[in-house]
Each structure stands twice: as structure tokens, then as C-alpha cells.
């Protein structure tokens, strides 16, 4: 009937159909990333569909996987969006949030189809359950964290990644990098440089700042006590931007004259720059040969073409400002570092800025046998850094290894017993969905998940609040002793955003889908 009044190509799914289509979409997404969950999770290969770019990446980072797959299902898009926000907000737990949301909807499907419970009732039950879950989580979290905790949190995050084998090494890297920030939590000061070659083990933390650029010809290769001027100005012919000017001359002499004027102008500019009392000049734009040679004559190190991120980061770590005009040297804040030298890592020459004004600055140099390995290592380190920064901001931690999930599930189950009405069923379903998280982790490890989870539940029921899964041995272990810990903030975000999204999808009863906009055929 709808087709009579809607534009061509518009599709309408109604009631049960609509609900099923969104539930299935969400479950598919959850199933897709499910196998990557936990320390024994598997990786995915992603290949681009663009025929010109057949590059691949290997990853088990939920947000990366989800953002790279083209989707047609509306509900699936909601899940992907949610994972991305999780990535942005806390940086970790992107897989968990998608899996949990998918599991919630899977439970909802059974309730809808078999028990015939109204979606609104399910939502009401979930809301109560979320409340209980949050209270439980709150009561389980510590109010302070120690350095050991940070180390443990980093290791827990890294244990599910490619760098698992070297997790202690990497955790140390990340923790010391984040601690240098001194609580500011500004990850800008941590630079990650990827250099394929060597092994993961040889990744290290470099004090100060590395820049993958080279020094101009004939200029000093090593300087101490550097005053750095950071510039964002054109150092080519420096065209005059005013009006649409152009040069028109009638003789060769005049050409030479104007060229001379141009050179003079450049020379004056260089002089002004030198007038700032700097011995290092770093420009975001190109530096042509002529000014370069001028700098070389004065014994000044000139570095060209630092990219935008690079220059801003340099400004942050050396404490200088990015200058574009050079009229008032007294007003320009120069950057400073103890030593600037060209060093060789692997086969690559890089510039090292040591002893920067901001002691927070440091660089993590990632090594690995191939591009894909360092790429994945970067993602893992990024996750770990984010979660550490978030933990420092909200200094509370909880036990990992499925410990909190089981505790939350149990609290919800208990609350469900005390609730009357069909809501209680929805609450138990919520608890079941929560249990799916450790269940999946155990499954991925190739252990008998049902057996392990029931043992874990029994342990919690007996009052061992710190019990969780020991994935190395496949037994229930004490998380405190094993040092498996997670950030409170991250877990909280997983629980709240997954339930918000699941509720939203469940409330849908019609899907109205417009015809895709027609695009001109690409020639």
C-alpha cells in the first residue's frame, strides 16, 4: 500500500519484519567481531574493495574492523557508530561494546519471538538492569590507583593484541610514556614512529622527540643548546599575495633586476629569521635552495617540510610558537632543546630533539617485521595509551577477566528475583547477555566456556569477588594475584552505551528506507 504514495524505490519494513531486520543486522556485527574478543581472540584481514588500492591490514581492533566494512543494514550502522564513539571516548573496549549490544539484542529476539514480550517492557527491564549494573560496577571499583595498577591495566589491554608476546615490554613503554605527561593526559606529546625492520621486541621509548626529516645540505648535523624557531611561511620565491600581480618586462636586464629584487627580499627574510637569535629553523613549507644555502652559510640548521601535525607537536614539546611573520623578534617565543642530532634507526635517518623544554615529550619507536605488524602495533599502543590516559583522568580500576561481568550479572539476577512482572525476564536476559562477554573470551581461547563460566559464577556466589578467568591456563583464578585489571571508565562506557543503543534499536517498529541517491557513472 505504501508504494502508492512514496517515491519510487522507497522501501518500508513494518513491525516484526523491521524489528527482525535490525536485530539480525546487529547480531551479524556482533558475530563478526566476536572472535576477536579477549587475549586469545583472532585477527581479521581487511582488504579494500577499491580495485586501485588492494592494500590489506591485519587487525583485531574492533573499531578499525567496523569502520572499514561497508554496511547496508541500518541497525549495523548504529553499532558501528557506537564502537567509534567508544574508541574516541576511551580508546579501548570497542569490541566489547559491539558484542554486548549484539548479545542484548539476541536475547531480545528470543523474548520477542518466544515469550511475546512487548519491546517497551523489555526496555523497562533493561533500564532497571543497567542501573543495578552501574551500582555494582561502582561498588567494585577502587578509588585510587597505584603504578602497579597502571602497569596491569596496560598489560590487560595489550594482552588481546598482536603484541601479546611482548606485552610486558610494551606495557612498560606505554606506562612510562603516559606518566611523563604528568597527569595532563595530552597524548599530543607522545609521538609514535613506525619503522619496519627489526623485531617487536626492539621497539623502544625515546626521550624527546623524533622527526622523520633531514637537515639541509651543508648544515651542521648536531647542535647543542638549540634555540628553535618554528615557522609556517613560504621560503620559495615568496610571492606577493596582494592583488593578482604578475610580472611583465621587456628586456633581459629587467628580468635580472627583478630576480635580484626577489633574492633580496628572500635574503632580508632570512636575515630577519636569523635575527631572532635562533640556531635552528624549522619550516612547515618548503625551503628552496637559495635560502637553504643562506642558512648554511650562517651555520644554522634549517629543516623543511615538517607536516602540520609535526609542527604543532614540535611547538608543544619545545615550547616555541609557530611564526609566520618575522617583524617583531622580541615577541616570538623560541623553542628550546638541549641537543638536536641526526640519528639512524634501522635504515632510516631521523632527527632527535633531546632535552626539550617540555619534559613530557617522548617518542615511541615501533619496530616490527613488516608494515602490517607495525601498523597493528601502533593501533594496540594507541589503545593502551588512551586507556591509560583515561585511567589517570578517572583514577578508578576494576578487575578484568570477566570478573565484573559475572558480578554484575549476579547482582542483576538477584534484583530480578525481587522484581514483579515481565520486566524481571528482561533483566535476567540482560544478565545473560553480560555473561556472554566472558563466555566469548573463554570460547575464543578454546576452553570449555560453559564449564568455566559456571565455575566462575559459583566462585562469585561463594563470595570470591576477585575471581575471573585465567586465560593462560583455562581455569578460574584470582584476578588480583594475576594482575588482570581494567579501567572503570571504559567498562562503564561499554555498559551504558551498549544498553542505550540496544534500547534504541528495540524501540523501532518501522524502517523506511529511501532509494539510494543515484550517482553519475564514474568514467
Amino acid at each position: 500500500m505504501e508504494n502508492a504514495y512514496l517515491s519510487q524505490g522507497v522501501e518500508v519494513d513494518k513491525g516484526e519484519n523491521a524489528r527482525l531486520s535490525s536485530l539480525i543486522g546487529a547480531m551479524a556485527i556482533s558475530d563478526l567481531v566476536k572472535t576477536t574478543l579477549g587475549p586469545k581472540g583472532m585477527d581479521k584481514i581487511l582488504q579494500s574493495i577499491d580495485p586501485n588500492d588492494q592494500s590489506i591490514s591485519v587487525t583485531n581492533d574492533g573499531a578499525t574492523i567496523l569502520s572499514k566494512i561497508p554496511l547496508d543494514n541500518a541497525a549495523a550502522k548504529v553499532l558501528v557508530d557506537m564502537a567509534k564513539v567508544q574508541d574516541k571516548e576511551v580508546g579501548d573496549g570497542t569490541t566489547s561494546v559491539a558484542v554486548f549490544c549484539g548479545e542484548l539484542l539476541r536475547e531480545a529476539e528470543t523474548m520477542l519471538m518466544q515469550a511475546r514480550i512487548h519491546p517497551q517492557t523489555i526496555c523497562a527491564g533493561w533500564r532497571l538492569a543497567t542501573k543495578v549494573a552501574r551500582e555494582t560496577l561502582d561498588s567494585m571499583a577502587t578509588n585510587t590507583i597505584t603504578d602497579d595498577d597502571l602497569m596491569n591495566i596496560a598489560q590487560t589491554t595489550l594482552s588481546s593484541k598482536l603484541v601479546n608476546a611482548e606485552k610486558e615490554h610494551f606495557a612498560k613503554l606505554c606506562v612510562s610514556a603516559v606518566k611523563r605527561l604528568g597527569g595532563s593526559g595530552n597524548l599530543d606529546h607522545i609521538q609514535i614512529i613506525k619503522l619496519p625492520g627489526g623485531s617487536l621486541r626492539s621497539s623502544y621509548l625515546e626521550e624527546g622527540f623524533l622527526l622523520e626529516k633531514s637537515i639541509g645540505v651543508g648544515q651542521p648535523k648536531r647542535l647543542e643548546k638549540c634555540n628553535i624557531l618554528l615557522g609556517n611561511t613560504s621560503m620559495d620565491t615568496d610571492k606577493i599575495k596582494i592583488y593578482g600581480s604578475r610580472v611583465q618586462v621587456d628586456s633581459l636586464n629587467k628580468v635580472a633586476e627583478i630576480e635580484q629584487a626577489e633574492k633580496l627580499k628572500m635574503k632580508r627574510k632570512v636575515d630577519k629569521i636569523i635575527g631572532h637569535g635562533c640556531n635552528v629553523f624549522i619550516n612547515r613549507q618548503l625551503i628552496y635552495n637559495y635560502p637553504e644555502s643562506l642558512f648554511a652559510q650562517q651555520g644554522i640548521m634549517a629543516i623543511e617540510h615538517a607536516d602540520f601535525d609535526g609542527i604543532e607537536r614540535l611547538a608543544a614539546v619545545t615550547g616555541g610558537e609557530v611564526a609566520s611573520t618575522f617583524e617583531n623578534p622580541e615577541k616570538v617565543q623560541l623553542g628550546y632543546c638541549e641537543v638536536l642530532e641526526e640519528v639512524i634507526i634501522g635504515e632510516t635517518r631521523v632527527l632527535r630533539f633531546g632535552g626539550c623544554k617540555s619534559g613530557a615529550a617522548c617518542t615511541i619507536v615501533l619496530r616490527g617485521s613488516s608494515n602490517h605488524v607495525v601498523d597493528e602495533a601502533e593501533r594496540s599502543v594507541h589503545d593502551a595509551l588512551c586507556i591509560l590516559a583515561a585511567t589517570l583522568k578517572h583514577p578508578r580500576r576494576i578487575y578484568g577477566g570477566g570478573c565484573t561481568e559475572v558480578a554484575m550479572a549476579q547482582a542483576i539476577d538477584k534484583a530480578a528475583m525481587e522484581t514483579t512482572g515481565k520486566k524481571a525476564l528482561a533483566m535476567s536476559a540482560y544478565a545473560k547477555a553480560l555473561l556472554q562477554l566472558p563466555m566469548t573470551v573463554a570460547d575464543n581461547g578454546g576452553y570449555d566456556a560453559a564449564e568455566l563460566i559456571t565455575q566462575l559464577r559459583a566462585a562469585h556466589a561463594a563470595g570470591n569477588n576477585s575471581c575471573g578467568l585465567d586465560m593462560d591456563q583455562g581455569i578460574v583464578g584470582n584476578m588480583e594475584e594475576l594482575g588482570i585489571m581494567e579501567s572503570y571508565k571504559s567498562k562503564l562506557q561499554v555498559v551504558t552505551s551498549a544498553s542505550e543503543a540496544a534500547e534504541m534499536l528495540l524501540r523501532v517498529d518501522d524502517i523506511i528506507k529511501s532509494a539510494p541517491r543515484r550517482r553519475e557513472e564514474m568514467i
Binding site: L187, G244, V247, I258, N328, D509, S514
Partner: protein, 553 residues
Amino acid sequence: MSMVYDEYGRPFVILKEQQAKNRVKGVDATKANILAARSISNILRTSLGPKGMDKLLVSPDGDVTITNDGATILSQMEIHQPVAKLLVELSSSQDDEIGDGTTGVVVMAGALLEQAEILMSKGIHPVRIARGFEAASQVAIDHLAKISEKVEFSKDNLQPLLTTAKTTLSSKILQPHKEKMAGIAVQAILDVADIERHDVNFDMIRMEGKTGGSLEDTCLVNGLVLDKEFSHPQMPTMIKDAKLCILTCPLEPPKPKTKHKLQIDSAEAYEELYNQEQKYFRDMIQKIKDSGANLVICQWGFDDEANHLLLQQELPAVRWVGGVEIEHIAIATGARIVARVEELTPDKLGTAGKVEQISMGTNSSRQQDRILVLEDCANKKAVTVLVRGGNKMIVDEAKRSLHDAMCVVRNLVKDNRVVYGGGSAEVSCSLAIRKHADTITGVDQYAIRAFADALDDIPLALAENAGLSPINEVTAIKSRQVKEGIHTIGLGLLSLNETEFTIDSTKGDHTMDMKELGVFETLIGKQQQMQLAAQVVKMILKIDDVISEGQYR
């Protein structure tokens, strides 16, 4: 076929290219129109009320919207049938005027059309039906005014406003946080409202959405929030007692609009031009500095050199600020929008107590989100609601819901008469109309009675969506209203303290006194709903010929 005959009896066709045109006439046309309109209202019907469901809309570009706001659903539905489009407009005019009840008005129109169809099959002329509806709607509106009650509120007693906002929010995704959100909505309105004059300037309330955090982190900022950052990373991130100037000219080299060509033919000319260029920048920045400003808001971009000069002159600046934002800043800070740097004078500056750049999310530069917050503006009344949420769709829906809630509160400030919700007002009107119908003789009586039947459809839909037995509930409301003479009896879907309705098994139905529950809607909103629905239905019924042009080739 529009075949006519000329004076010689030869047939000819008035409408050319018959094949390309689509034409329906007479009763068929009316019936087809009714069908189209009703299928639209059927889609919205399930979204009505606190237990209504949401719709998931996928745009042609694949963007996903999830909402249960009637106006939003219809506007994104790509409807091409002309009469169905009327309903879209109906809902959007309710949205513009009242801001709430956009679903209700469409459901109401659908119900009226359904009744009209039955009457037409009895052989009643559409125009007579329309006239009956018109008369009935007048009775309903008068009756609403009669049963309406005044709610008294003041700055110290905001409870009635909060209750209304909560009623509106209870049908939305914000339901779990409705206490807090209602508080935000009421506070925002009161901040900008002029209670004496019963006037609310909606322009002073801005809504900014940012993904991340959860819905609970939504907050009301006393001032403006801009999704922008300072133009140079080294500019201070906090300015106290800001004096800001608003520019709508780019801080870039001038580009004369007339066609021109500047030729350089000597080294001197080159030199001169260079100096002029430098001077141009310096003058520009100096003028800004001279005006006493310490913050520059610009609609356009900055040249790198200009940007650095700004930094040197300690003039924090924001570039690429959109036109709407510019206007808001101008209103809030009392600044004048200046189109040329030359025209900048100290009295054109605006003031803000504190301007701060705040970072959100994980602090890596790749994904950093920075926002600017302008607080304590010259015009104290400007406020911004900063909406946070788990993902983009939730944030968008939260924004729409808060907007609805604010509209309702605004309506109360404008006119503090209310009627009670939960279908009680509709049932009460329906009873009054039925009584009135008995006093009329002729065909109109049928039409008026049909209007009363259509009104019953609202509580029916409410009950249906909540999974209750519709007929039982509605008849129970009616009988209680008549028996007990209380016109505030309605369908209680939410109880006072809990978010859930309680089942009172002894009674067998969910009728409750809406006054006790505190569920009410504004009188103007309800009146507008009935009036608009009746008008549109009248318009649809009067159409007897639809000629649509064929596809243009």
C-alpha cells in the same frame, strides 16, 4: 477522458496527451486521497504516546535517523503523493506553531478521514461531512477551553512546568533521564523567558550535540557553546572578560572584485608592492587591536601571516564561524557584526565574562574534539544546551526531544491554561460533541457524531501501543467520566513515582485521574491539534479531481 463536442458535433480532447497524464475524478478521487492520507497516519499511529515505538529512517545517502517525532519522520519519508504531502505539511505546521503533538495531529486527521469514508459510503456528500466536522471541531475547541485549568507557577514554584516537560519526554528515548532533562528544559526556558510579558525568545536557546559520554552528561551552559577552536594552537585557551569583535571579512589579502591585472615591470615596483602587502596585514590587525578587542570571531579564514600577527598581538581568534552562530554570538554578547575592519569601533564590541576552549574525548590530536564555551555574556539570557550521548543517532534524537519539551514549557509560559492528557481531554470532548450532535437535525448530525468517534481514536491508539486492550480501556474511561463527572479521567500509562505503570488487578483497567498523575498538555496545543486536523480533512474532502502531469520528458 475529457471529451467534449464542438458546435458541429465533432469530438475533441481538452486535455492534451491523455496518456501522459493521470487523472482521477469524483468519489474515486476522494477515496484515493483518503486512502493515501490514512496510510500515512497509520505509520505514525504506532509512535503515539509514552509507549509509542520509534521509526528507523535511512536517507538516500545511507544516513540513519531513529526517531518517534512525527514531524521528523514525515519530513524524511520521501512522499510524492500530493494529498499525503498535505499531511506532512500539517505535521510540520503543528511543529512550527506548538512544537509538540506532531504525531497526534496526523493520527487525528487519519481518524477523521476514516470516519469520512464511512459517511461517504452512506451517500453523504463530502462537503456536508466537511461542514459537520467544522462545526464539531468548534464545539470541541470551546469545550476544551471550558474544561481547561490554569496552572500557577512562579520562579519559586516550578513544579507544574517540570511535570509538563516530563509528560512530553516520557514518550522519548530520554525517558530514563526525564527528571534531569525536564529540569534542563525548564531552566533553559526560564533563563530566556520574560514572564511578565509571557514571551519566550527561542532564538536565545542553542542546542549543540557532541557524541561521547552518556545522556546523563547533558548539561545547560549559561552562555554559548561553539563547535570551533582557536585559529592558532598557541593562543591562550581561556580568556577572562573577553571583548570580542565579530568580523565578516576574511583576514586575507584583498581581492578586488573587478577584473584587473597588475603588472610589475621594475624592481622598485616589486619592492613597493611587497611593502604594501606587509602594511596591509599590519594595518588590519592594528585596527582590530586599536578597537580594544581581545577576541576575534571571524566568519572567514585567515592567512597564515595574519594568523601569526594575531597571535603576536595577543588576539585570540576563531575562524570559519557559521552565519547562524555569528548571529547568536552577536545577540548574546551585544556585539555588532562588522563587515570591514575599517568600521570597527570600541562600541561595536561585545563582552563575555569568560571564553574557554575545552577538549573532549581521548586526548590525541587525531581525534580531539574541542569546543569553545562563552560564558557570562553581556546578554545574560543566552543559554546553550550541550547534549551528549552514546552515538550520533541518540544525540540527534535527544536534541529533538529536548526541543519538544522546551516548546511545551514555552507554551505554558505564554498561556498557562492546560487540559489533561492520557486521552482524557479527547474523551471529554467526544462526550460533549455527542451531546451537541443530538441537538442538530439533518445530515450534519451524522458528521458531528463521526467527529466524536474519531476523537476516541486517540485513546484507542494510546492503549494499543501500550499493549492494553483498547476497547476495554476506552469504554472504561468513558463510563467513569460520565458516572463520576470528572473529566480528567484518562489512561494511566505511567504512575507517579515509578517509570512503569502498575497493574491494579482489582479494577481490570488502567483508568486514572490525570490530575493526580500530573499528566497535562497545554490548551493551545490541543486546540491547535483539533483545528489543524479538521482543516486539513476539510481540504482533502473538497478535492474531487486530481490531475497529475505525466513524467516530463
